[in-house]
């Protein structure tokens, strides 16, 4: 029998902001509110809707992922689900035991021991002493705090606190567990353990998971919500939502986002490499005036008017920096740039990353461009990279451009997004040329 756990209808949450940005209401506003009078905002105040028109449903055993940029309203939504905030409009129906971990600290008393906090937290989740005693060893074992369980929680690291909080939540919350980016704190082994447990519990419990790691959402959730500026942009199939979210993540403008969501993209056959171009600097969030920024490898890349007119060309149609390929297609990428001053050496990197940020391959031009006198002189340069049959399987990847002359002068993390469709039934992220043979004995 299908059991509804959660139902949100037209839910909205607003905060009244003063012109200075303060949330502190006036004495009169407090008085009017508690006496039940209607409160009208004054000229010096504005209503800020952190969430609006939120509709969603969750049945038992179903899990939902929530993604969105910072300030999208994800944590506010979770707080509404867990009754830590009250909605200003709409209705929220909750059925069954709902709990979770949305803030570091998990409501532990810092002076009390981990063991004592297990009892307090479990009781707040509705557990009896008998139930707590029965599960105590399992909680301690899962949180890996055997030696530290009788020490005050204030002595725990953030990872230890999260481990204990997560362990209590999964042991005592019966129907719906809400997790807000909590797994980002633990170490790799603990994350893996949590993933395994979530996977195991998925059939009996529902999860609401907020994560910036789209891979986590794809792994554990049956559906997803993409929130942007307090509104649902997309709700439904995880892959569809993740695709939309990835497009938005690399754009600053909301208007761009909407137009991109509405856009229909169709794959067209391979054309001449010069047919399609994409002006990086004009389509990048990288500001000309920005002196430098640190890239994900910890290197400083800066734009000191050394390079301009950077463009990328592709042998396949580029639509706002997006490419659509089959996993059997060839691909040529051409990078054009104008070097304005003479440099000691030039090295161009075009590493390919999976959507979650894992580097799949990391080719760079050092073997043929390092200290090449012609390449180091000012003037327009063109670099080609050709993939003979796409080495990746189905998924979404991005190419990163680094034109480097230590310490470097240009970096563009999302040069091109590549959407690959699997047409030959191979598995895994990367294709390899293996020679299989057999013999019968």
């Amino acid at each position: 029998m299908i059991q509804l756990i959660l139902k949100l209808r037209e839910v909205g949450k607003k905060f009244t902001l003063k012109n200075g940005g303060s949330l502190q209401p006036t004495f009169l506003t407090i008085l009017k509110t508690i006496l039940g009078f209607r409160v009208h905002i004054t000229k010096s105040e504005t209503d800020y809707w952190a969430l609006r028109d939120i509709n969603m449903e969750l049945i038992k055993g179903e899990s939902i992922g929530i993604v969105g940029l910072n300030g999208a309203g994800k944590s506010t939504l979770l707080k509404l689900l867990l009754k830590r905030l009250v909605a200003d409009e709409g209705t929220i129906e909750r059925h069954g035991s709902i709990g979770g971990l949305i803030e570091l600290g998990a409501g532990f008393h810092p002076e009390q021991t981990g063991r004592k906090n297990i009892y307090v937290n479990a009781r707040l989740n509705g557990a009896t002493d008998k139930e707590i005693n029965a599960k105590l060893d399992s909680i301690i074992k899962f949180s890996e705090l055997d030696e530290f369980i009788d020490m005050p929680v204030k002595t725990y690291s953030s990872g230890m606190t999260i481990r204990l909080g997560f362990s209590i939540a999964v042991h005592f919350v019966k129907d719906l567990i809400v997790l807000d980016e909590v797994l980002a704190v633990g170490d790799f082994e603990f994350k893996q353990k949590c993933h395994r447990l979530i996977h195991k519990l998925k059939r009996e419990k529902s999860f609401v998971l907020v994560s910036h790691n789209t891979r986590d959402i794809s792994l554990f959730c049956d559906k997803a919500i993409f929130l942007h500026k307090g509104r649902i942009i997309k709700y439904g199939d995880v892959e569809e939502v993740m695709k939309t979210f990835s497009i938005v993540r690399r754009n600053d403008s909301y208007e761009d986002l909407i137009s991109r969501i509405e856009e229909k993209r169709e794959k067209t056959p391979e054309t001449n490499v010069d047919n399609q171009s994409y002006d990086i600097l004009n389509n990048s969030s990288f500001s000309e005036s920005e002196e430098y920024r640190i890239n994900k490898f910890g290197r400083i890349y800066h734009n000191r008017k050394i390079v301009d007119n950077v463009k990328v060309y592709s042998s396949r149609p580029l639509n706002n920096g997006e490419l659509y390929l089959d996993n059997t297609d060839d691909l040529t990428i051409k990078v054009e740039f104008n070097l304005k001053v003479e440099v000691s050496h030039v090295r161009i990197g075009l590493p390919f990353f999976a959507e979650n940020g894992d580097m799949i391959i990391g080719p760079d031009s050092r073997r043929f461009t390092m200290s090449d006198k012609n390449l180091c002189k000012p003037g327009a340069k063109i670099i080609y990279i050709k993939l003979n049959e796409c080495p990746f399987n189905e998924g979404r990847y991005y190419v990163c451009l680094a034109i480097n002359n230590d310490p470097g002068f240009l970096f563009r993390e999302h040069l091109v997004w590549i959407n690959i469709k699997n047409t030959n039934g191979s598995f895994g992220k990367v294709k390899t040329n293996l020679n299989w043979s057999y013999e019968t004995i």
Binding site: Q24, T33, G36, R84, G107, L124, N125
Partner: protein
């Protein structure tokens, strides 16, 4: 400042404010019972005013409702009262004539004071969410109100100060409860019912305010 309470007590004593201590009732009993009932009053108000601030971690991080926080204060005050009252019952060995059935009224009177104190405290706690210094102010007021609550003796209502002090709820609750329990005053049933009704009306009003305030409290309790 550290000497202020001592100076205040001696000054009020010297001025004859605490002159009357009841119809021949030993001063020790007047003060002991007075303090016991007064602490019920002050602990309820101070405890409830502070309770949201003290429990904000649980409220924010575990989703604990606001009302159980006030309930916990009721239990804590009742527990403290029970311990103090039991100690007083033992001390009454030296004043055996005061072992009367009137002592049985004490828990009901204490509960009535707690309901009044929790009502006031829960209202103040709403404002304490926004104005945190209020908790310190209430704590300080609760201390100095001790001298104006008839704990150290009845206050002459004909004087200017007396007219003001004798209408304070703390004075009315403390002196009435003490008089009833020690039996040196006729049990005025209408007065008792009046106090209980005031407590309950105030309690209902406080719960109405709490219901309206829940949203803004949760918005700002960080």
């Amino acid at each position: 400042m550290p000497c202020l309470p001592v100076i205040l007590y001696n000054a009020l004593n010297y001025l004859g404010i605490f002159a009357s201590t009841g119809d021949g009732v030993p001063r020790a009993l007047i003060i002991s019972f007075g303090i016991t009932f007064y602490l019920v009053f002050s602990e309820s108000i101070v405890g409830c005013t502070n309770c949201l601030e003290l429990n904000k971690s649980y409220i924010n991080k575990t989703g604990l409702d606001i009302i159980p926080c006030y309930v916990s204060i009721v239990f804590a005050v009742l527990m403290s009262f029970s311990i103090r009252f039991l100690a007083l019952l033992v001390a009454l060995i030296f004043y055996a004539e005061y072992y009367t059935f009137n002592l049985l009224y004490a828990p009901i009177l204490a509960l009535s004071i707690i309901i009044f104190g929790v009502s006031i405290g829960s209202m103040l706690s709403i404002f304490a969410t926004f104005y945190r210094d209020l908790t310190n102010f209430v704590q300080m007021m609760a201390f100095y109100l001790l001298f104006a609550s008839g704990v150290f003796g009845f206050i002459d209502a004909t004087t200017t100060i007396g007219k003001f002090v004798t209408v304070l709820p703390s004075y009315i609750y403390v002196t009435f409860s003490r008089s009833v329990v020690l039996g040196y005053q006729e049990i005025n049933s209408s007065g008792f019912i009046y106090l209980v009704i005031i407590s309950f009306v105030l309690f209902v009003f406080a719960m109405y305010l709490q219901r309206n305030a829940k949203s803004i409290i949760l918005n700002h309790l960080k």
